[in-house]
Every structure is written in structure tokens, then in C-alpha cells.
Amino acid sequence: MFVQQLVNGVSIGGIYALMATGYALIYSLLGFSNWAHGDVAMLGAYIGFLCVAAVKMPFWLSALTALLGAGAISIMNERLAYRRIRRNNAPTMFLMIAAMGLSVTFQNMVIVFLGPKFRTYPPVIPVKSISLGSIKIGVLDMFSMIIVIIAMMLLELLITKTKFGLAIRAASSNMITASLMGINIDFYITLVFLLAGSLAGAGGVLLGLKYTVYPQMGNVSLKAFIASVFGGLGSVRGAIVGAFLIGIMEVFVSGFITSGLRDLFTFGLLIAILLIKPSGLFGIDIQDKA
């Protein structure tokens, strides 16, 4: 039972991780919580769903379209809403409010144009599980776990080993200095939004495959946000660790105590971390977090 619940928790945590890293990337650069992030994931799930179900594309192509589509929407958000606010040197609070506005707009646009119904992906990956003794591991879970691990590894390499990563790290440390050093800030911010949006799109497609696709599904990103606060806002590695810990904790609370208390534990953890170690597990630079 314990191991089974651990498996369940890891599979939930993996999806939180895909979303949480996107949060962390954008936070590390612009210093605000992108509340529209979950809705980008939702739009990604819908793009993938429409490609598979309406256009009848093969699944891998649909998933790729969803990833790129979500990335493009994410860039569009930056271009239309955030860039202008950044240029005005407005407080980061304004960015957060703009993000909330985008979130509400996206949810309602989907309700208007596609309807509020719950939809499911056609059975791309069968509902089957592999038994290891008394432990059952879903095929879909393994598939999504592989995707999550690949995405996390690529992200880690990208940030630590490439010029792109160096530029982002420099910009997140100090944007003005980085810009004086000859880094094209706008270009890199666009790339970061593309990256975060694609990760969200991947999360959205996996969520849609595992559960259902509906306009409010992006609200799950609240958990991803808690994960990234827990791990240290702005720290990609922290976000991954936080996401897995929260996924496992949620399953353990529902499995061994009662699901009524699940969210109490999650939010209790958020309060505790803010009181005891406000910078989170892997956080640095206390002054900047708000």
C-alpha cells in the first residue's frame, strides 16, 4: 500500500513539476507570478485535443502542435500584455494583475467558443497497468513520467550548459547589467516564455490524457505555484523537488488520513515554509521575493 501510494504521488508530482518549472523560469526572470500559466496549459490541452479528435492528426503530431501552440500563446501574452508594462517600469504587481486578466479571458473564451463541457482524449494510450507484485503502475503514468524526466533533463542542460542558459541566469541576476553586457533582453525573455509555454503545453496534454479537458483545468497550477514557492520561487530545481514532494504529500494525506484534510496540509505547508524559510528550499536572495 505504501509503495502504491508513493507511485501515485510521483505520477501526480510529475505533472505539477512540468507546470512549476514554467512558473519558476518566468519568476526568476521577471519577478512576478504568472497566473495565466495554468491557462496556457489548458489551451495546450485543447489544441492537442482538437488536433486528435477533430482534425484526426496522429497523436505525436498533435502533441507537438499543442506544445508549439502553447508556446506561441505564451509569447503572445508577453508581447501583448507584459512587455508594455515592463517598458513602463511599472511595479511587478501590475504584471500579476495583467496575468489574472488573461487567465479569466482565456477561460471564458474557451467557454464561449468551445463550450463548458468535459472532454476526453480518444484512447491514445490504453488504460492498462503493469503489475510488479501488488503494485500497479499505469502505462499512461510511465509514459508521462518519461516525458517529465526528459523535459526536466533537457531544461537542466539548457540552463546550466548553454549560452542561452548563461544569458538567462545573467538576466535574472540583474537585468540592467546583463543588458549592458550585450545580452538582448527582449529576445531572451521571448525565448523563456516560449520554453515555459511549451512546458505548460506538455503538462496540459498529459493532464488531458490522464483526466479530462475542461475550461477550468488550468486551476491546478495553483498547486504548481505552491510547489515553486516551496522549492524556492525562481529556482527551477527547487520547483521540481517541491512539485514531487507536494504530489506525494497529497496522496499520502488522502490515502492514510482523509482527503478532506488534503488541501489543509498543502496550504498549511505553504504557510509554514513562508514563516520558517521564506526563500524556500532552494531559494536565494530573500530581498526580491514578495
Binding site: M1, L207, T212
Partner: protein
Amino acid sequence: MKIKKLTGMLYLALMLLIIASSLSGCGSKQAKDDVIKIGYVGALSGDTAVWGQAGLNGMKLTAKEINEKGGILGKKVEVIGLDGRGNPVDSVNAFNKLVDEEKVIAVIGTNFSSCNIAMAPIADQKKIPLIGTACSNPKVTVDENGKLHPYSFRIGFIDPFQGKVLATFATNKLKAKTAAVITDIGSDYSTGLTEYFIKQFEENGGKVLIKVDAHSGDNDFRAQLSKIAPLNPDVVLVPWIYKDVALIANQARELGIKATLLGGDGWDSKELLTMAGPALEGCYYTSQPSFANPVTKPYAEAYKKEFGINPETEALFGHDGLYWIKDALERAGKVDPAALKDALENTKDFKGLMGSITVDPATHNPTKPCSVYQIKSSQFEYVGDFTP
């Protein structure tokens, strides 16, 4: 000053007009002795008018049938339908109008709990029996303090009642000995069904191995289902709305739960079949009795001939409601709302097309069969009507 005087005079004129019209109203609409008037309140316009229209059509067709066979106690039946628009205010207005102007002796309708909760105290006040159709909230016949609305009745069963039928169906038909339950603790519907199911299942000699809680919208139920899986129960009660049922079913199968899943009318949506895929093959759910039952065939044919469209279930409620009133009036032996109320309250085994009704005098809730459906090759298949 001048304007004030003018408005004053207008008021006076208006008052006179109202008095005059109400006087004349009394004069012209005297209830005729040889006709029994029965009212119907339902949504006759708006987006839920399909049901309201079907209910009224069903009653009119039934009234015709009753009149052709000699009426009730030698008197002809007349059905008067007014539009309640599916909202409480309009329904109360319609009810008042039926009683005050049309002088009906009983009212059938509506299928919305919110409308009947609003009409129930007025029915008590005016002492006119009100028979709800598909409204399923317990507060339709019993107020918040648990006090009975003496003039409120209903034809359909309350939601939790399905739990009772499911329990007996599981022990008698499926020969289930053990059960597990997964409940949505945020919903009255789910907790009510759970409570009735567990009580009846244990009364029937079965054993409920475990009851786990979850919330609608959780999407991932594997933490809870993992607790059920190793116990290997014969049946698992899933009293949820279809979107959650689909998720629970798929995740349960993934974790190796092979038990037959059971549920209530929250399953009753074609969407469930596409969403759940093969995970629900062979599972059962209950619903209000409907036209799936072959005994309703002649009535459905007559309805199609008369109105040129397929009947909705609400038409059956109209049919059974009117025959129930006929049955009660004949037992009472006189045409009087108070006597009718007493007779309705003491109904035992009234046989309608939706099965036989026995009323509990303490709550006015009927004991009656539920229709059971099975999911077979991705279709809902009618199994039969079952009593608890």
C-alpha cells in the same frame, strides 16, 4: 402640487378598476359542479420548456382517457396548465392563479425542487394538494426544521432513495456479499446515497468493507482507490456525477479493481459512455422510471399519435399524477381538497406506469421502483424496475 393631485386620482382610478375586476372575476368564474379542475405548473416557455410541455401534454392526454371512461366520481376532468417558467417566483404566481381564479382542487408540478420549495408553504396555506413530479430535494415535502408540509407530495423518489434500491439490487440480483463506497463529501446527493446504501446493504446481510472520501474536481482518485483495491469487494458504489464517474472508473480499472461499479442517476448522460470507454462495461446505475419500461408502450404510442412528437419522461409523471389523484378521490369518495390530501397521504400500492407508489405519511416521500440500467457494449441497456 398639480402632479401630486393627478397621481392621487390615478391611484384612485386604479383601485376602483382592481376592485371592479376582482368582483366580476368572482362572478364569472364560479366553479362548476360537474367538472373537476386540476392545475399543472411547469416551464411552458424557456429553455426547459421541453419538460413542462411534455408534462402538460401528458396530463391532457390522460384527462381525455379518463373522461372517455366516465371521469372521476362521475365528473369530467379538466386540466389547466400555467407557465411557471422554471423559476420559483413565476411558479408561485401560477399556483396562486390556479387556486384563486381557476378554482382547481389540486396542482401537479413542477420538476424543479427550487420551485416546489417555494410553492409548498403556499399550498399549506391555501389547503390545496401540490404534487411535485421529478423534484428530488428532501425539502420539497419537509421544511428545514424537519416539519412536514401537509399539502406537499411528490411522484418521483428523493435522491438518496436510489442508494436503498442499489443495495438490494446488489445483494439480491448480483449476489454481492461485500461492498466498498467512494463518496463525494462535498455533495448532499452523494453523501445521502451513500448513507442509504450502507444501511440497506448491511440490513440485507452484506458487508461494507470500506468507505473512502474525495471531492468533485479532484481528478485524481487513485489515493482513495488504492485503499479499496486490496480488499477486492464485489461491488463499489460510485454515487457521483458522470464526469467524475468516468475518471474514477478508469483509475479503478488501472489499479486492478475488477468489482462491478454501481451509481445513481448522476450517471445518466450519454457523455459518460464516450468518457469512460470500456471501463464501465457491465456496470449498473439507477434512474427515475421512464419510457424504457415496456408497460409504457401503449401510452407512448397514444402520445405520439396525439402530439406528433416523442414523449419525455415528464409526460409519465403527468399521467401517473392524474391517475393518482383519481385513485385518491375515489378512495375519499368526495371532491374536496382536504379529503384528497388525506387520501394521498394514505396511498398504498397505487399502480402507475412508473411503478407502484406507497407514501410514507411522515415525510410524504414515495416508496417506488427505480429503473436499473446496465452499460453493455457502450450502450445504456434497460434491465428492469426494482424495488428496495
